[in-house]
């Protein structure tokens, strides 16, 4: 209805000669039929999406059930990961191995699985990744929002960031394997060892206590490049684009009045940036959570560079294992039922974790953004 006809209508009403309402025909039977058909099609599509989420999760649950049932919550705190049975000689009270018919008497230890080393490896590699990526990402986001528009490169820069996010993780993994790991092994780690290696309370970073034939031996770590540090670095590079892109959107939504408010008080450029970060802190935290979810779930690149050692070693210079890299390494050879089930238990934990991270992140980023954009 155009403004004009409304005006005429009002004018006519005011003039005292009300215009009769136009009679409009009801919707035809065919259009009603098509309408209900389309409505059901939309419902079906929505249900399919839900199903696509529920199906894999339930399959995962069913397959992981034997391990869940067997190990329960203890799975999370056990650090043993042994797919084979173990024969242990039985000893008498004096500690002598009991023999019968010339053979050692043994008991059979069934295979045992625990996720603590991969939980540890995932947490530490993701944390390292955040330590590398977050300062860079925030600084880059600030640059894109505060500086780049002035020199007209905000567009290309944003495109580049999004392009980086689209590079397959294999490419990062190959680069990590063939460039970063050798560089760490030949240059960075020797430098670390020759400098920090002499600091007494940092010795945990360079030495490992190994049990050999019942005796504890202190051994220097090989510092071979393919270790937790390398995994964390590659992950950090991989999550940089997503954290940068989301923080950029968060910072873009900081009201001008907030920036001007601090500048008008005599804040320096950096001090006003701090106010922007403060104002967007919930959204920025969400960006970090998204990055964390990425880092925790990333598989290919990490498997290639982290060294794949399913043990907890405190030093970042030791090879480690994450949940995703454990799955990638062992899934093909997990013939034994319990082994496969335990791997799926790990997968289930990973899924629940990423889901939680993503929900928290979405809540913080989307919630905060809609709230702030509603305010101006």
């Amino acid at each position: 209805m155009s403004g004009l006809s409304m005006e005429t209508a009002t004018a006519a009403t005011l003039a005292g000669s009300p215009r009769p309402a136009r009679h409009r025909p009801p919707a035809s039977g065919i259009s009603r039929f098509v309408d209900s058909g389309l409505r059901w099609a939309c419902r079906g599509a929505a249900a399919t999406i839900l199903l696509m989420l529920i199906l894999p999760v339930s399959v995962l649950l069913i397959q992981a059930w034997p391990a869940v049932h067997r190990f329960g919550a203890g799975f999370l705190v056990s650090s043993e990961w042994r797919a084979n049975e173990l024969e242990i000689p039985v000893r008498d009270a004096a500690g002598k191995i009991i023999q019968k018919d010339g053979e050692n008497v043994t008991t059979i230890e069934p295979p045992s699985f625990g996720a603590l080393p991969v939980l540890y490896g995932t947490a530490v590699s993701a944390m390292l990744a955040l330590i590398f990526a977050v300062p860079f990402s925030f600084a880059a986001a600030l640059f894109i929002v505060r500086v780049a528009p002035k020199i007209k490169i905000a567009g290309p820069l944003s495109f580049l960031i999004e392009f980086l996010a689209a590079i397959p993780s294999l490419a990062y993994g190959l680069w990590g394997l063939f460039v970063l790991a050798p560089f760490l092994a030949t240059t960075v780690e020797p430098a670390l060892i020759s400098t920090l290696g002499k600091v007494p309370f940092l010795s945990w970073m360079f030495f490992q206590d190994v049990e050999i034939a019942g005796a504890t031996v202190r051994r220097q770590l090989p510092a071979a490049g393919r270790d937790m540090l390398c995994g964390g670095l590659v992950l950090g590079i991989m999550i940089l684009p997503i954290i940068t892109a989301v923080s950029r959107d968060v910072l873009k939504n900081v009201p001008r009045a907030q920036i001007e408010g601090s500048l008008a008080m005599g804040a320096t450029w950096w001090q006003s940036c701090v106010e922007m970060l403060r104002y967007g802190r919930a959204g920025l935290f969400g960006a970090v959570m998204l990055g964390l979810a990425r880092a925790a779930g990333e598989t290919m690149a990490v498997t290639m560079v982290i060294g794949n050692n399913n043990q907890i070693v405190l030093s970042p210079l030791a090879p480690a294992q994450t949940m995703a890299s454990l799955l990638a390494n062992e899934f093909a050879e997990a013939t034994d039922g319990l082994h496969g089930s335990a791997l799926l238990y790990v997968a289930l934990i990973l899924l629940v974790m990423s889901l939680l991270f993503n929900i928290v992140a979405r809540y913080l980023v989307v919630g905060k953004n809609s709230r702030t954009s509603g305010a101006h």
């Binding site: 408010g261 008080m265 005599g266």
Partner: protein, 320 residues
């Protein structure tokens, strides 16, 4: 601010024909086009001034004599400002008297905020802004290349249209200026916080919740908090851009009371679209139109006895 005394002229015809029709540059502008004591002449029609502006001719502001001799803390001389290609200020010349409240009125888009934000150089942030002419704060050239903008802004406080407290405690908001100056002594911060909050008439309401978030305050309280934040740093001039436009009448009244209470101690420049507010709080009023200063004088004169018929029709609500 020492215009050549010229004979009273009708503003619309003051510009010599030689003046270029568009964008008269500062150097090309002859002295006579500088503001002079304009006396409304009887033959002046209500539209002559506005016609001249619309024709792009330079016009002469009518400045009341008392304002020519005043002790001006901020002086603006033939100040012009462009947003890229659009000229928002066309050679404004005026001074803001020390320790007085000056109101800037005029229809929306006439350049009031632009002039206000030129004083603390907030317009620097906007792409494509260019300025010409001169502006000084206590004698220091605001736009001199060697002017340290950060220090300039530390000397000026600003209150915005929409309150913009920082997402931190009430206390931290008030002492923000001192914090960024590196002040760490607890007692100094506490004293500054209390006296600023008292001056902004907020102390009694928040003294028990200074550690609470500033965002928990009401709109009016938030705006008074922003005022406290601005004055805690003891600025030479307090710039206010329609500080009450988002507030209810009672909150507005409290802010007007604050302005009256601070008058005489601090220079206030307030932009307002509310004529009654200008009449209530200000000592002097400047009327702007289409990027020009039209008339500037003591508030009572502007509202009751303006020189120009244009001013009269604006303040009586007949146009704008």
């Amino acid at each position: 601010m020492t215009p050549a005394p010229t004979s009273p002229t009708s503003p619309g015809t003051a510009a010599p024909a030689a003046a270029p029709a568009t964008e008269p540059s500062m150097s090309a502008m002859p002295l006579v086009s500088r503001p002079v004591v304009g006396i409304a002449s009887p033959e002046q029609s209500a539209t002559s001034f506005i016609d001249a502006i619309k024709a792009g001719k330079p016009v002469t502001s009518a400045v009341h004599p008392s304002l020519l001799k005043a002790d001006h803390i901020v002086k603006v001389d033939d100040f012009q400002l462009w947003y890229s290609q659009n000229k928002a200020l066309h050679g404004v010349t005026m001074g803001f008297p020390r320790s007085k409240v000056t109101a800037m009125i005029g229809p929306s888009g006439c350049g009031k905020s632009t002039l206000l934000r030129s004083i603390n150089r907030l317009n620097d942030l906007i792409d494509g802004v260019r300025v010409a002419g001169k502006m000084t704060l206590s004698g220091d050239d605001v736009y001199a290349p060697k002017m340290d903008v950060i220090n300039l802004r530390k000397r000026l406080g600003m209150v915005f249209q929409k309150s913009n407290p920082f997402p931190m405690s009430i206390f931290e908001n008030v002492v923000y200026g001192l914090r960024i100056d590196g002040e760490k002594r607890k007692s100094v911060l506490a004293d500054a916080c209390e006296s600023a909050l008292r001056a902004a008439a907020l102390w009694e309401e928040v003294k028990d919740r200074l550690k609470g978030s500033a965002l928990g305050l009401s709109g009016g309280q938030q705006q008074r908090l922003c005022i406290a934040r601005a004055i805690a740093a003891e600025p030479e001039v307090l710039l206010m851009d329609e500080p009450c436009s988002a507030l209810d009448p009672i909150a507005t009244l409290k802010i007007e009371e604050f302005i009256r209470s601070i008058a005489g101690r601090i220079t206030v420049v307030i932009v307002t679209h509310n004529m009654q507010q200008a009449a209530r709080v200000s000592d002097n009023t400047a009327f702007f139109y289409l990027g020009r200063l039209v008339e500037y004088g003591p508030t009572a004169d502007i509202f009751q006895n303006p020189m120009l018929p244009e001013t009269e029709s604006y303040v009586t609500g007949r146009f704008g």
